[in-house]
Amino acid sequence: MLRVIKYIPIIALLLLGACNTNSGPGEVMGYAPVYADSSTIKIIQFESARPTENAGKIYYYKGFTFQVETGKGIHIINSLVPENASKIGFITVYGCSEISIKNDVLYTNNMSDLVSINISDITHPVPTSRVQQVFPGVSQTSPPHQGVYFECVDPNLGTVIGWTEKLLVNPKCKR
């Protein structure tokens, strides 16, 4: 019995420590919003090839392989001869995560819109149609996962185009 009593102050201290949340959780893995300038988020255009940073889904069409750059656009890879496969360019599409192609028209999500892009000339993609506000889109307030810490959103920095995993120091927001 005495042995247990001896530990009571330590247990009490531990309990007190647990109540003290003012200092935050310290360094934790969580999520941070990725911002873009609201006026540019609907601009779809061809740019030169760039390194892959956040590799997304892939799609194959007539010798070309497309890979989503999560939230930013689509890498275009000429893979007609797979041993010599190489990037030939990039299509900027903010908020994009999915691709589908039929008859030289690429369908993708641009934030919460569905857009069609004519790619018959692959280096001159031409947006042809847009269905506005059809998908839920990226949350402007919290990341798409439960029970995680995240960097609070500052609307002054622009529109949130995605959420990325990040090491956070005493984050103030949690969901």
Binding site: S97, V105, P144
Partner: protein, 255 residues
Amino acid sequence: MKIPYKYSLLMAALAILLCFGCSKNSSSTDPGLVSNTGTGGSLAKFTIVGDYMYAVDGSNSSYLYAFNISDSSKITFVSKTYIGFGIETIFPYNNKLFIASNTGMFIYQLNNPAQPVQENYVNHFNGCDPVVVSGNYAYLTIHGGTRCNGSTINQLQVYDVSSLYYPQLVHTVNLDNPFGLAVHNNYLFVCDNGTGIRTFDISNPMIPQQLSITTGENFVDLIPIDSILVCMLTDGVSFYDMKQPENLIHLKTVQ
């Protein structure tokens, strides 16, 4: 509110089945054979069948969207059907959509392509999963993790879907942490993260037999095209020669 909605869906399904039941086989098309449509991986949330593009969103309560794309300069949103919680992937096969969720697999029929109708739902343990279908069998991987309801199950499951009304789980293979998968002829390829691509012989489609593991890259998903395997990596794309599926030969990695 929910029960009458469910019944109305059921009644609609019954009505459509009664109307189209006889012509079901003649109307089936395999989108993979339509050369003007490209090919996505098993993790896709967009897919095209005929003049329609279908999408599932990745939100907590997900819908199945149908768009008419017969005129690409004027795509039109035609319907939105509530599916359920944690929808992961969509796979078209034989005029059906196989939709994988955190809790199971939904099968939607496209007799009226503008309005997909749920034909069945198979429950499995919690976990994240894509599904692909070949012949009478659906192959589905389940992986665990905190984002997947905290599941610790990592498996390949084989379902007999010859009767779409009574899909039967016929076989399971324990894996490490599987993601995307693809079927090509008599072979099944499964990305088992941290381990590589597992090649299975599915000459007996019910019981996949592992032939080899190809390691060296962090594979997430796969698209087989003729004799080439296009692989989604965590940091790019790579291409493999699969003339001998048990002996994949690396051709190029693009990052």
